[in-house]
């Protein structure tokens, strides 16, 4: 019996000492500043800048609409016959897991801005089976969408930009935290990566 108590105490102490798991910051920069003649290191986090895009209901969507939520961002186009259907089929599985969790959102940006008007994306969302407002299909001008992709979301996937599909057609899913910081990038066409994304989303939801 005494041994059992000892095991319980050790287990409890071990649990108390365990730091909650945290995801890395994908865009963290350590800069050196001179303050009062002394060099001090300062850590800064790049965040997603504000944007003004239109969703599948032709409603204006800004970054504010993602306040108090973590979200998954991706780039696609509705007529894509190869990578996007696989990526969105997998993302649909993620969506279904968090469908009724208002702390989780999805932002799919079309890169085919001439064709994928909001009405086209509404039909696409309906065909995919999206029933809630948590998944926004976003439309903007070519320059807005490419700037968001290249300067913000896809910065850390650029090395693979030469892979089939280019940055906007490589099936990446980007995980953004409640402070608009990128916390993970996953290949949306690979099952293992998609399961890792869901596990990481659970970790991120617990983060204070």
């Amino acid at each position: 019996m005494r041994n059992l108590f000892a095991i319980i105490i050790v287990f409890t102490l071990c649990s108390c000492n365990t730091e909650p798991e945290r995801l890395p910051f994908m865009q963290m920069e350590v800069v050196e500043n001179v303050v009062d003649g002394k060099t001090v290191q300062d850590t800064t986090f790049r965040t997603i800048p504000d944007f003004k895009l239109y969703n599948q209901d032709s409603t204006v969507v800004t970054l504010k609409d993602f306040d108090n939520a973590i979200y998954v961002a991706d780039f696609f186009f509705t007529t894509c016959p190869t990578i996007c259907p696989v990526m969105h089929r997998n993302l649909l599985m993620v969506y279904k897991k968090y469908e009724h969790n208002n702390q989780v959102k999805f932002a799919s940006h079309t890169i085919d801005v001439k064709y994928d008007k909001p009405s086209v994306m509404k039909a696409y969302a309906k065909k995919l089976g999206i029933r809630t407002k948590n998944w926004e299909f976003l439309w903007g001008t070519r320059d807005e969408i490419y700037a968001l992709a290249e300067r913000n979301y896809m910065v850390y996937t650029k090395e693979e930009a030469q892979a089939p599909g280019g940055f906007a057609h490589q099936g990446y899913l980007i995980l953004v935290d409640k402070h608009k910081r990128i916390r993970g990038a996953y290949d949306g066409t690979v099952d293992e990566d998609v399961h890792k994304l869901m596990a990481d989303m659970d970790i991120l939801l617990k983060e204070k």
Partner: protein, 147 residues
């Protein structure tokens, strides 16, 4: 040769021809998708070069300061022509994607084969167009200096 043997050979030949046709449809469809992905990898560059040239077009006075020897009027015409060709290439790809049917299901296999062969020829021509327009615009941007 007995009638039974002749019929058997005939049936086997038809079955083999059918398998061959199915295999070709899948092979050609896969090849079409492969080239589609190659073109899409260049799609970013096609759009990026348009954006770089748009920036140059909107900053011709700055370009003149950097390169005093250039004729800005001539360069304006050059840039507009290169952008127009890039847009034409991009529109060709968009048009192909919007019309391409990845689940084309005709009643006869031979129709599917013709369809995918035709689509393979079209996407291959677009691939060539993308590469040519990319080279032309890359060379120009290299010569004139990136914005």
């Amino acid at each position: 040769m007995s009638i039974r043997k002749t019929i058997a050979i005939f049936i086997i030949s038809i079955a083999l021809a059918s398998c061959q046709s199915k295999e070709n449809v899948e092979t050609i469809k896969a090849e079409t998708m492969k080239i589609h992905d190659i073109v899409m990898a260049d799609h970013n560059k096609i759009v990026n070069n348009q954006m770089k040239l748009d920036t140059l077009l909107n900053n011709l006075p700055t370009l003149k300061l950097k390169n005093p020897e250039i004729d800005t009027l001539a360069e304006k015409t050059n840039i507009k022509l290169i952008i127009a060709d890039l847009v034409k290439a991009e529109d060709s790809m968009n048009d192909w994607m919007h019309k391409f049917d990845a689940d084309y299901k005709p009643t006869e296999h031979i129709d599917a084969l013709s369809y995918y062969k035709h689509e393979l020829a079209r996407i291959s021509a677009i691939d060539k167009m993308y590469k040519a327009e990319l080279k032309k615009s890359d060379d120009y941007l290299q010569k004139i200096g990136k914005p």
